[in-house]
Amino acid sequence: MTTGRSSFDVIVIGSGAAGLRAAIAAAEAGASVCVLTKGSLLYSGASASANFSYCAQFGYFGPEDTPARYAADILDSGRGLAVPALAERLAVEAGQEAEAVDPWGVPWRRDPDGRYNVATFGGHSFRRAIHVGLRTGTVLMVALGRRLAALDVAVRDYCAAVELLRDEQGIKGVLALDLRHGAVVMLRAPSIVLATGGNVAMYALHTNPDEVTGDGHALAFRAGASLIDLEFIQSYPTVLVSPPAARGLHYPTGRLLGFGAQLLNGKGEAFFHNYETVPIQKATRDQLARAMALEVAAGRGSPNGGCYVDARGVDPATLRDVHFEAYFADLGLDAGRDLLEVAPTPHFTIGGVRIDADGATDVSGLFAAGEVTGGLHGANRLTGVALPETLVFGAAAGRAAARHAAERGRMADGGNAPVPDWLGHALRIEVATGGEPHVGQVSARLREAMQAGAGVLKSSASLRAALAVLDAIEAEELPRLSSRQGGLRLNWELLQLVELRHMLLSARLHCLAALAREESRGAHLRTDYPDEGGAAWAGHLVARRGPDDSAAFLFERVGAA
């Protein structure tokens, strides 16, 4: 592991599946590579949580089972907004990537005939979900880590990107808070791959690690890149809201509904058929989430604002197949004995940094891959497409970044960087020991406001209320936040401050986009505009940076470009 060096061909920001895959691809193409992660190598990001499905197409089910059909399913689910060039690459390469990671140690489950074991999910025309039991994400991360270790890649962990550096020609490097070594560092490279994941930790209740704070949105936006479809955040329909220790755990009800599990309102009544005509066993996530949210809003929810999953009639072997039984046992829960109190909860960030099929953004030298990007899923994501997205676009972005670096040539060394004003300010006023509020309290306030105003169901009034809190935090609280711990080394308060600053911008962009889209479409649900707006709204809201971090949104009709 190298730590001293500060100039590379390619810097990858983020060590989830997308980041590691990009780093491997860039290093294999001969580039010198550094991975920067604010977490720790094999554990960080949503990738280590992904528990099951990797959807790929292998042509098992006859002449109709083609990549074109997979791409068409993605476009259908995206309600007119999924970008065809991205969907096509995903559909063609998901299977190839599954095969590429196999020798690095991903023991995909196979049937006796040697084919991959494939599970079925709503929205997919054929069975496509390959898996490694319930540990797909963790196993994949360990395998990618093993491959990375065999290459000569520098890793900086507990090191958070603060700002991208660029000039008229494009990317120059990144300014980062290196908590392990206690320094603000400037790392130089002509190519950067953003792989920082999503932003759903901006909600009080969500299913991701709390570090998923939308940093990549803020980094890309401040560097002048375009972001699209930021209003779309996917809710997982059945996330536990009680008991306290289980809050935020997603429960894979979808796979149980076909085995006799029931979805009930607070009064113990089935209700899904009042909202949708499809049988509940065939429902997609957004249909379930919408019905549940509306039922709760109508006053028929459970005590903690949810519904109930009754899986007591499902046989124990099936229950064991779909959920983390040992974890449930540790928390004193038993799905075969207890009603599970669940609510739709933010789970996946659909929109993000705009990329082409090679992962290139519209800033020269800036590439992006994985959940930080937008476009592939349009207005709604199909189950099991996020993991292949990390590998397919991670590999593509890593290769393109290496190519770009070879054309541009290495930068001069970076070294220690001037501390940006706001960070220096936070450090200097460490005398404010004991001052209130501190960063954790302000982050909690932001998360509560987003939960209340910009959650599963939104309206103009609720979004404006959330924006008012974001404004107040930005104007009054952020400038006064300080660190009471001397020095930079492992200064967790400063890490939270960096995250808060990123999260605040990402949250604002989400609220503004959601406010601008005056219709409901896919994962975007407006109570004041409950219907899909038709062709007039079939387009992307594209966000670009204006003066002082203000956002300019452009509406781009699909097919018009």
């Binding site: 720790s40 280590a48 949580s49 690690p209 009471r484």
Partner: protein
């Protein structure tokens, strides 16, 4: 975030937590009174401690918190435990970093693979 969830019974827990400055080779236990929802787990208790008392507390907070990744290894009441899979039982608890790993700061230790 569970200490702020509405309408839920809360309890006050007397917590002994290992504190160790980033560059220090020694540390010590500090005592805090922390309010949490009844039936919450150790990782959420540490989050509540940080919000209620000291934002500088360093612990493995950047990980899955749903029992899958294994990054939240701690010593709870003297026994090895994963913070997100261990319920707070009773109204006193002692939380220390896991044995056999270098301590980076407070409860954060050098995980394998880094």
């Amino acid at each position: 975030m569970s200490d702020s969830a509405p309408g839920r019974a809360t309890i006050t827990v007397a917590v002994r937590v290992w504190r160790q400055a980033p560059d220090a080779t020694v540390g010590r236990f500090e005592r805090y009174l922390v309010e949490i929802a009844q039936g919450d787990h150790v990782l959420n208790l540490l989050a509540a401690l940080r919000r209620q008392h000291d934002p500088t507390l360093c612990y493995p907070d950047h990980f899955c918190k749903i029992g899958t990744c294994g990054a939240c290894a701690l010593l709870v009441d003297g026994k090895p435990a994963l913070g997100c899979r261990t319920l707070v039982a009773g109204d006193t608890i002692e939380i220390a970093p896991p044995r056999g790993r270098a301590i980076l700061a407070d409860l954060l230790s050098a995980a394998s693979g880094t």
